[in-house]
């Protein structure tokens, strides 16, 4: 057996290489820059420069793209406008996430534990805290995650899909475990996320094996051809396709593969929740779009069962369970489950419109998610002696926030309205284009359910707004909550709020840009 070195078009990989190269360099920084404060500064700068440079390169490539795109690595990676659009989006989330990672409270406290390797509450932990240790590894970890997600949007081969999945998942498992406060909760969330993630990866691999068995290839194009030539429908192909999709639905957080979300969202350090909530969902949606449109397009009718069942279950369960949550982060976790359902609505009937609608939907959803968790990171509990504790995530603690901090409460209200899909916010346009795509393929019963579910979901969003603005602070609780001021987090709140409004009022330019992104290099096989 001879082995020929594949032709690799390096230039289109530049954004990815910048991010992964910076991640590798950041590991070296860990070893060679000893003073924690300086190391932190270098890491932050390196991350931001790398992410912005990658975003810039991606935009340049977008502008100079030759034809529909480039096949980079045989059948394994393609870079087209669809991939570039998602990559820019993920890089934007990366930049905002990095800023949140770097934000500190007035007392100089970070969101991450000073030393990840010691037991919670141990004397070593206290010592590490006193000595000013910092886990600056979070920056390279985030870079690796971003790199993996970017690759995830461009892969066109099941094996490489799996590799990219693990590249971005492993850093996230670690990041979830690094919370400074409530570390047991953080560890629990990380462990559950890891175990269930491993389980879903196994399902995805199992599906890939089925497909390989049925078609003799793991490349999307080959599978698509295999589906087209098969006489009738091969159960092996169907089962394989379902299992691959389920592996991705786990990352999107759709029912019944959502059980990790509440624990991971609640336990993770809030900056990680923000980044994970926005970027993972975007990357997984991108990968799902590509695998569905490039490999499984011929199974449209058969897979519609899967899409409908999971979409309806996600929307209903996410909405219903969010209603009874008393913890803000858990509430947003269930709201993210409901949003996974809304995302899947756009897949109904595999409309062409989904390719341009979903990037916009995920942009609006991700920005609002980033912003909402950035606000959460600023609202802290306060002990009786005046010491500022962890985040005040119990709903009741947010009563009267509008009076305490009109800016934060106003921004939060905006993000919630965007989640609810109220006009003049980005969320409205996002829902509109996503549902319109589904209607174009005649899936109006599903859209009807989606509209009812979003109306019901508005309940718990508006409930929080009412709590913030129209409820007085309970007697004796006036001093129980402290509004933190972290410049980086404030920047994220303002930027995301501005973008949510901007995309809601002037969606035109972005919509037409994503219109161009709706063309896949390989084209839909149907």
């Amino acid at each position: 057996m001879t082995f020929t070195t594949p032709e690799i078009a390096w230039a289109p990989l530049a954004p990815l290489m910048i991010v992964l190269g910076a991640a590798a360099a950041a590991i070296l920084v860990e070893s060679f820059v000893r003073a924690p404060e300086r190391r932190r500064a270098v890491q932050l700068l390196l991350s931001l420069v790398a992410l912005l440079a990658a975003a810039g390169t991606a935009v340049v490539q977008w502008a100079t793209l030759d034809g529909a795109g480039t096949v980079v690595l045989a059948d394994m990676v393609t870079v087209d406008r669809q991939a570039l659009a998602w990559q820019v989006l993920i890089l934007v989330f990366g930049v905002l996430g990095t800023l949140l990672f770097a934000s500190r409270t007035r007392a100089g406290e970070e969101a991450f534990t000073p030393l990840g390797s010691v037991a919670p509450g141990s004397t070593e932990e206290t010592l590490a805290r006193r000595k000013g240790f910092q886990v600056t590894e979070v920056f390279p970890l985030a870079l690796f995650a971003v790199g993996g997600m970017m690759l995830f949007t461009a892969v066109t081969d099941l094996i490489f899909l799996f590799v990219a999945l693990e590249v971005f998942s492993l850093p996230l498992y670690i990041l979830v475990a690094l919370a400074r406060r409530r570390r047991f909760l953080s560890h629990e969330g990380a462990l559950k996320y890891f175990l269930l993630g491993a389980f879903s990866s196994a399902i995805l691999l199992f599906g890939a094996a089925f497909l390989y068995g049925a078609t003799g290839t793991t490349a999307y194009a080959g599978i698509s051809a295999g589906i087209a030539t098969a006489a009738g429908v091969d159960p092996l192909i169907l089962a394989g396709a379902v299992m691959v999709i389920v592996g991705l639905l786990f990352k999107i957080g759709a029912v019944p593969f959502h059980s990790w979300t509440p624990d991971a969202y609640q336990g993770a350090p809030t900056p990680v929740t923000a980044f994970m909530g926005a970027a993972t969902k975007a990357a997984a949606t991108a990968a799902l779009l590509r695998v569905v449109y490039e490999a499984f397009y011929g199974l449209e009718w058969e897979l519609s069962w899967l899409i409908w069942i999971v979409a309806i279950a996600s929307m209903l369960l996410g909405t219903v369970v969010a209603l009874v949550q008393t913890d803000l982060k858990r509430m947003l976790a269930y709201s993210s489950v409901a949003h996974a359902g809304f995302i899947l609505v756009a897949f109904a009937g595999f409309p062409d419109g989904a390719l341009s609608a979903l990037p916009f939907y995920l942009a609006s959803y991700g920005l609002a998610t980033m912003g909402a968790f950035a606000v959460i990171s600023q609202v802290r509990e306060k002990a009786e002696d005046g010491a500022v504790l962890g985040e005040a995530t119990r709903l009741g603690q947010w009563a009267g926030l509008g009076r305490r901090s009109p800016l934060l409460a106003g921004a939060m209200a905006l993000f919630l309205l965007s989640f609810a899909g109220i006009p003049l916010t980005a969320g409205f346009i996002g829902k509109f284009v996503a549902f319109a795509a589904a209607v174009s393929e005649g899936a109006w019963p599903l859209v009807l359910i989606a509209v009812i579910a979003s109306a019901a979901a508005a309940f718990f969003y508006v409930r929080l707004i009412v709590l913030m603005f129209l409820t007085d602070v309970p007697e004796g609780q006036e001093d129980a909550v402290e509004i933190e001021f972290s410049p980086y987090a404030r920047i994220v709140v303002l930027v995301t709020a501005a973008l949510v409004i901007l995309l809601g009022i002037v969606p035109g330019p972005v919509l037409s840009a994503f219109e161009n992104a709706g063309v896949l290099l390989l084209g839909a096989a149907g």
Binding site: V246, S259, A322, L323
Partner: protein, 626 residues
């Protein structure tokens, strides 16, 4: 310059954003940024105006394309500005009066720790108001409409540490929502009937639309106008809105925002042209409110609330004129402009009085201020003469035309509308003179710790400029029908109709009623002593009894039903709406609780859920597929 009109909106908006974000470090100089932004907008507007004046009258309508707003689909809408004589008139009024009030506020708000935030809101208001009048579609107008509502809400409740002020802001907010619903429904109707929301498309389609369609749209637009312009029956918020700082009352609740309803009606002229019933309703609402406002104004002892009632009444005049159709459109806008000057001037005067009197607003504790505050007295006096309609001051030229126009028509209508306008003039003379005499004449009734003094130049100079406008602007614009000719491309040429009474008779009757009103007010409030407390329980004078009578009418007719209505609404809301919602949500919540139990925190059960889910999905798909 016309291509740069987008700067009119962008500059104040950018300044507002800057001031809000700059933080405390900009406290020392931030207000001058606000003044500069408003001043820049004025200069841009002036440049555009000069350019427009150099053009042929029929080519003064300019469309400025901004960007493609909602591309494609059933509703293809571009965001653009419509720069024509009508919107230009508003631009000049808003930026000129606005800039003066910005300057005034620098001194008025000097000791307020949140002065920077105040200027941010003022800039926000200017930007939103200019967007409202410059928009080329109802939808973009709506964005500005909500923007001014937001700015108004923020500014009324600016001192929201006082609960009643926050309540006032909420009241204004809620009443305005009723009006907004009107505008939203009107837009829905336009979209359904015509498939368009831009002025051009809607007006083109309005030509061929049925009367019923146009009447429905016209009435809904009227609801919107009533909410924004404090017209009956949505007038109740304006008095409470006086809780805001006085410059806000001058700019938003006298000169500009409250007149947006009039603008909406005049702008929608092609719709009302095909809906005579809706048009008559506009006139009737205007006539009723002008009397209502005047009656309320007669009873108020709070100087700002009296002025607010007067604003309501004067806007009633404008609505009345706008409801007369092409005959009245130009006069409605003309009166709007002159009113903008003299009422803003008088509000600033009231602010100056409050500034010198430790924020006292009770006119019964004023008196004899003419010696202590000469500039305020003179400038306020000019505004007073203007609102009375005394020739040759500004108000005469605009109000007299409206009264004349109200007498045009057939049947009973001119007698009712004209009569109301005529009586309104007399009532206006009475309550404004009462206000003027109680404040500046008679004996000093100050409380012990008050030492009235003239305000600083930063406050008096804007007052002087506005007073000059109150005195001469009307004459300047009325000469040779300048203003009507200027607006003609928008409002259309009005055929000349003879009023049912000869014009000199109307004019003389008006002036006689005004003189009577002033004389009565002088007898009771200038020459005679004014009791320091409202003679509610005393049997002193007939005038006092009338006063009391009016107060109780106000209370009985407006306040109590209002309270009952709100209480009923709150009750209904709690019992019916909340009940229904709670029950629904309760049902959902119970389901949620039972589902939550499955989220028991055990990884193995989670994994089992996933596995079962996977198996079910595979079975369904494979079964369904085969």
């Amino acid at each position: 310059m016309l291509d740069l009109t987008w700067l009119l909106i962008a500059v104040p908006l950018a300044s507002a954003a800057f001031l809000l974000l700059a933080g405390r470090r900009a406290d020392a100089w931030g207000h001058w940024v606000g003044v500069a932004a408003s001043g820049t907008a004025f200069l841009v507007g002036l440049g555009a105006l000069i350019q427009m004046l150099g053009e042929d009258a029929h080519h003064r309508e300019h469309a400025v394309h901004l960007f493609s707003w909602i591309p494609g689909g059933a509703l293809d809408l571009d965001a653009g500005l419509l720069v024509d004589p009508l919107s230009m008139t508003f631009v000049m009024l808003v930026t000129f009066v606005g800039t003066l009030i910005h300057v005034y506020s620098v001194a008025y708000m000097e000791h307020d720790p949140d002065r920077r935030r105040f200027f941010a809101y003022l800039n926000l208001f200017v930007a939103a108001m200019l967007l409202l009048v410059l928009a080329d579609s109802y939808l973009l107008l709506f964005v500005g409409w909500e923007g001014v509502g937001l700015a108004s809400y923020l500014l009324i409740g600016f001192w929201n540490h006082k609960p009643e002020y926050a309540t006032a802001a909420n009241k204004a907010f809620i009443v305005n929502r009723v009006g907004d619903m009107g505008l939203i429904i009107a837009m829905g109707l336009m979209f359904t009937y015509f498939g368009a929301l831009d002025f051009e498309g809607v007006f083109a389609a309005a030509d061929g639309a049925s009367t019923a369609q146009l009447t429905a749209i016209g009435l809904m637009l009227l609801v919107a106008a009533c909410g924004k312009s404090a017209q009956f029956p949505l007038q109740s918020w304006l008095g409470d809105a006086m809780a805001g700082p006085t410059p806000v009352s001058a700019l938003i609740h006298a000169a500009t925002m409250v007149t947006a309803g009039v603008y909406l009606i005049v702008r929608s002229a092609p719709i009302y042209a095909g809906a005579p019933a809706a048009q008559t309703t506009v006139a009737a609402i205007g006539a009723f409110t002008l009397i209502l406002g005047a009656v309320i104004g007669m009873a108020k002892d709070d100087i700002k609330k009296a002025l607010a009632a007067s604003t309501m009444s004067q806007i009633g005049y404008m609505m009345l004129a706008a409801g007369l159709g092409p005959v009245g459109y130009a006069f409605a806008i003309f009166h709007l402009v002159t009113h903008g000057f003299f009422k803003a001037g008088m509000f600033l005067g009231a602010g100056s009085v409050m500034h010198g009197m430790n924020d006292q607003v009770d006119m019964r504790r004023f008196g004899a201020l003419r010696t202590a505050m000469v500039t305020t007295w003179v400038t306020f006096g000019l505004g007073w003469l203007a609102i009375l309609g005394v020739p040759p001051f500004s108000g005469f030229w605009s109000k007299d035309k409206i009264i004349e126009a109200a007498f045009v028509g057939e049947g009973a209508q001119p007698w009712i509308l004209g009569g109301a306008a005529l009586i309104g003039a007399g009532l206006t003379a009475f309550y404004m003179s009462r206000l003027f005499f109680m404040t500046f004449h008679g004996k000093a009734r100050w409380t012990d710790d008050q030492h009235p003094h003239e305000s600083p130049a930063l406050m008096t100079v804007p007052m002087i400029i506005l007073a000059v406008g109150s005195a001469f602007l009307g004459l300047f614009l009325a000469l040779g029908d300048r203003f009507a000719t200027w607006l003609e491309p928008v409002t259309g040429h009005a055929e000349h109709h003879e009023p049912v009474l000869p014009i000199p008779v109307i004019m003389i009757a008006t002036l006689l009623l005004v003189a009577l009103g002033v004389w009565v007010a002088w007898r009771k409030y200038g020459a005679a002593d004014v009791p320091e407390t409202a003679p509610a329980a005393s049997l002193a004078t007939i005038a006092a009894r009338n006063d009391m009578f009016q107060d109780s009418v106000n209370r009985g007719v407006f306040e109590r039903p209002g309270t009952h209505l709100t209480r009923t609404l709150v009750y209904a809301d709690a019992a019916l709406v909340d009940g229904a919602v709670d029950k629904t949500a309760g049902g959902w919540a119970r389901t949620g609780e039972s589902v939550r139990k499955t989220q028991n925190g055990q990884v193995r059960s989670y994994a089992l859920t996933m596995l079962v889910g996977l198996v079910i999905v595979i079975l369904v798909v494979v079964q369904g597929g085969l």
